[in-house]
Amino acid sequence: MKIVVQNLYKIFKKNYAVKNLNLTIEKNKTLGLLGPNGCGKTTSIGMMLGLIKPTSGKIIIDDIDVESTHRNLLLSRMNFASPYVELPKKLTVRENLEIYSRLYGLKKLKSRIEEISEDLNLTKFLEKKTGELSSGQKNRVSLAKSLINKPELLFLDEPTASLDPDIGDFIRSYLEKYKKNNSITILLASHNMNEVERLSDSVIMMREGEVIDKGTCKDLIKRHGRNNLEETFLKLARGAKSAVA
């Protein structure tokens, strides 16, 4: 799926949460969305998911306006994962995946649950209550839910936040492999610069609701004369004006 965002604004009580956001994510590409806390990343994702109504501007996904009445057609081809959004803790992993399989209208839900559980090493936890899992296991369940409908567009909001390096690496490796084997466009909001460098084809840096720079990771590092993306992020987040912005 291709996303085109044009002149997007969101104002909450006279404060700009997102200011004139313009971006395009081509089909099967991954865009990293970077920026300090409160810079408008989650609000931008919320608008693209149709959860937040933009103050003005347009979000077009595969030629369908997210604000149109056809939003449900898009939602069945999209999904979202975030450690800040959980699944019902009192239900087992299998029950949660079954419910979301049904909500996404899957036909062969049993085999899909088995498949995604095997891929993410969840098979032995399927009958366990989701609330009884460790944060790493919960994170994988959340990722399994976000991939249950084989989305063509995936929004990931800090998918490896608060995970130990081993599980974080497992998730990143899995996403790399998944991208290679499936047709999927990803918007990745993250504070983990290694993750963004590994997974993204290009990145956008935001600050105070505005895009302050964009390009490939290599371009950004080079343009700002830094050694890596983390140093570039720090420079931009702390206020240096971009060449592009």
């Binding site: 919320g46 959860l51 937040i52 999209m78 959004v85 029950e95 979301y100 996404y104 209208g105």
Partner: protein
């Protein structure tokens, strides 16, 4: 409407109830306590009151029916609150389920929770107090339908408040029914209310439901027009409730409260 989605969301709540014995116990416990409490009160009234002396069980039947209304409303609210408490709200609203399908799923599942409470309570009353709500006969189904529609409507209104104002609106969920109870004329005839309050009470379906219940139990007469009136008024409120729910949802999208809503 896509039934597999409605079924999927209903299943979420069925699994929740099925997987927790304390939850089932909780659903049965409160209606049963109501039966004990009002059973003894009504027993005392039937002995001491000339109004009730030939109609054993009017108060207890009213208590059971009122509890049915209360449970249907609370069930609706609880299911929505479960989504907020479990921080599952965003997942639900980004799945391709329509608002009308969410309303349908919650409405259909609330009946299950309500009946889990009502049936044991209604059955306990028979051996313990020799009172059966089933003596109302066939009209009981229509009275329950009217009560259920109105209960769900109250649930919808509170849920709309939760979407509009966030989890802080939770306390209103518990208080909403107590606010209407005095006007509902559940345990007393409408004539008890002052004239100006009678006008207000008549625009609620509760008065028509409970007046008709007393009419059937005391006079052995079924007034079909009262039952139709009760169902119609409940349905009008239901449509208003659905509209307010949609309006709140729209408002929540403008304010951005649908994302990351949780405890």
């Amino acid at each position: 409407m896509q039934w597999h989605k409605i079924y999927g969301l209903s299943l979420r709540h069925i699994y929740l109830i099925r997987g927790s014995f304390p939850r089932i116990l909780d659903l049965i416990y409160w209606p049963s306590i109501q039966v004990f409490l009002w059973g003894f009160i009504s027993k005392f009234f039937t002995i001491s009151s000339s109004y009730y002396n030939n109609t054993i069980g009017v108060i207890l039947t009213a208590a059971i029916l009122y509890d049915f209304l209360f449970r249907s409303s609370i069930s609706y609210n609880m299911m929505f609150l479960e989504e907020i408490w479990s921080r599952n709200f965003t997942n639900l609203f980004i799945s391709p389920i329509k608002i009308k399908e969410i309303i349908a799923a919650l409405t259909l599942t609330a009946i299950l929770r309500t009946l889990i409470g009502l049936i044991p309570a209604a059955l306990i009353a028979i051996p313990l107090f020799k009172v059966s709500i089933f003596v109302i006969g066939f009209p009981l189904i229509f009275l329950l339908i009217a009560l259920y529609i109105f209960g769900v409507t109250l649930g919808l209104l509170v849920t709309a408040g939760l979407i509009r104002f966030g989890p802080s609106f939770e306390n209103i969920a518990w208080a909403s029914l107590f606010f209407l109870a005095p006007l509902g004329c559940i345990y007393y005839p409408i004539e008890i209310l002052p004239n100006w309050l009678q006008i207000l009470a008549k625009i609620l379906p509760l008065v028509h439901i409970f007046e008709e219940m007393r009419n059937i139990l005391i006079n052995n007469v079924v007034n079909l027009s009262e039952i139709i009136k009760a169902i119609s008024i409940s349905f009008i409120y239901f449509l208003i409730g659905v509209s307010i729910f949609y309006w709140s949802y729209y408002g929540a999208r403008v304010r951005g409260t649908l994302i990351n809503m949780g405890e």
